[in-house]
Symmetry: D2
Subunit: 143 residues, 4 copies
Amino acid sequence: MSLELNKDEMEQYLQEIFPQMIRDFQIDALDEAGIIMRLLVNDGHLRPGGTVSGPSMFALADVAVYAMVLSRLGRKALAVTTNSSLDFLRKPAAGRDIVAKGQLLKLGRSLAVGDVLMYSQGSDKPVARATMTYSIPPERMAT
Amino acid sequence: MSLELNKDEMEQYLQEIFPQMIRDFQIDALDEAGIIMRLLVNDGHLRPGGTVSGPSMFALADVAVYAMVLSRLGRKALAVTTNSSLDFLRKPAAGRDIVAKGQLLKLGRSLAVGDVLMYSQGSDKPVARATMTYSIPPERMAT
Amino acid sequence: MSLELNKDEMEQYLQEIFPQMIRDFQIDALDEAGIIMRLLVNDGHLRPGGTVSGPSMFALADVAVYAMVLSRLGRKALAVTTNSSLDFLRKPAAGRDIVAKGQLLKLGRSLAVGDVLMYSQGSDKPVARATMTYSIPPERMAT
Amino acid sequence: MSLELNKDEMEQYLQEIFPQMIRDFQIDALDEAGIIMRLLVNDGHLRPGGTVSGPSMFALADVAVYAMVLSRLGRKALAVTTNSSLDFLRKPAAGRDIVAKGQLLKLGRSLAVGDVLMYSQGSDKPVARATMTYSIPPERMAT
């Protein structure tokens, strides 16, 4: 299945719709096989002790799966998160970006499901795992 | 089981350890039966369209369960989130705080599990549901 | 919201569609507020040591939420499980039925979400917690 | 990390401890990289319409992760499921075994987390996804 929006178009689109939030994120790769997305870690993402916060990793997984879904459905589509599960596996390394590697497991008419493994940059042991389900409202057919 | 830290002591403790984050949260009630915690919604929590963001609701559920665990174990305890599941059920009402009602389902030697329902203030239909698991490292025995 | 199928009608319907499986289950109560459903524990549900197996508790939560959804939508409806999360909290008591108490958190046009706490009969400490999401295909409109 | 129990030793061990259950399962591969485990589908696993039941897929994911954990810890170890999340993605093909491909994401002192994708034999589109967390009680140190 080819993409409606490639990496550059997707970054442009995210900047239009989430201008505040997206400054902290960067797409390293986006193609039919999946996505590599990066959380540009700054002090706002940290908890005492230097750990990247849970909500920051939730946000990374959420936007990574969103970008995979929208890259296939195109700009007009709507998609809202309905379910998420996260496992926090290891303490992230201090001062490193978090790199998310995602794949889309399902893109149905009404539901899309994506899977994400997150790593401290330079490590091959995952710090967290997430699955995100998006609901695709039927209104997208209308346009 | 009586509490090691009551509502006021817990708020004081959260301000010591999470001074940046905790400004957005308020404990309405904390006792043996559970917790009522509030996200004081401001523009930083919103997505386009006025919806409260997923990461903000994740943060609310996470800190609500953390406060229930620490209120029972006391200041010296450590607890780290290991697993979370969230279901987003309805669009939150614009301009309303999110109120989380939590109960602790298990407080074992090494794992604690808490359940949270979240509501837009003034509504009785939940906007989200979350379960959070905390791991309690054995080091807490050392002090 | 009144029920399309009451407790007796629901039991009858489950026996029609799941005759093999439903022998192990019994509805104790079903109304607008929720469901109480019982797993009639026999040797087939046990693991060595007398613990009720995980798949048996999954099945109990799954059919409890299914019954809540169908009791509201009626016999013609279709509903398939799309997501589940379970937490196993305590070892069930030997030789006791498992009692599930469920509530429906959402019944939308395309998704329904229900929450279940499970107890060994006679205990008030939950042995497990589950959330089940059902997808309701649009075909149900056709009839 | 080398394995304490290889594929044949693991199958032997599962037959000793779960003689009833394990007849329906077969290990196709087990090594440091992960596991391939098969549900030998028979009528007992089916729902009306020929779908493999949710509890059967839960059982497959559960035993696949259990086998990965025990293959590393050895026969003396204890491990109990504490958390699971499953997404059901597609209807399984009628009359086909379900093949689970699992990897161990974490093996800590007290928690192990494994990830499983499940396929109808011969298809490369997953029918389900699961994550299982096992708690490893400290008593295993005693022997």
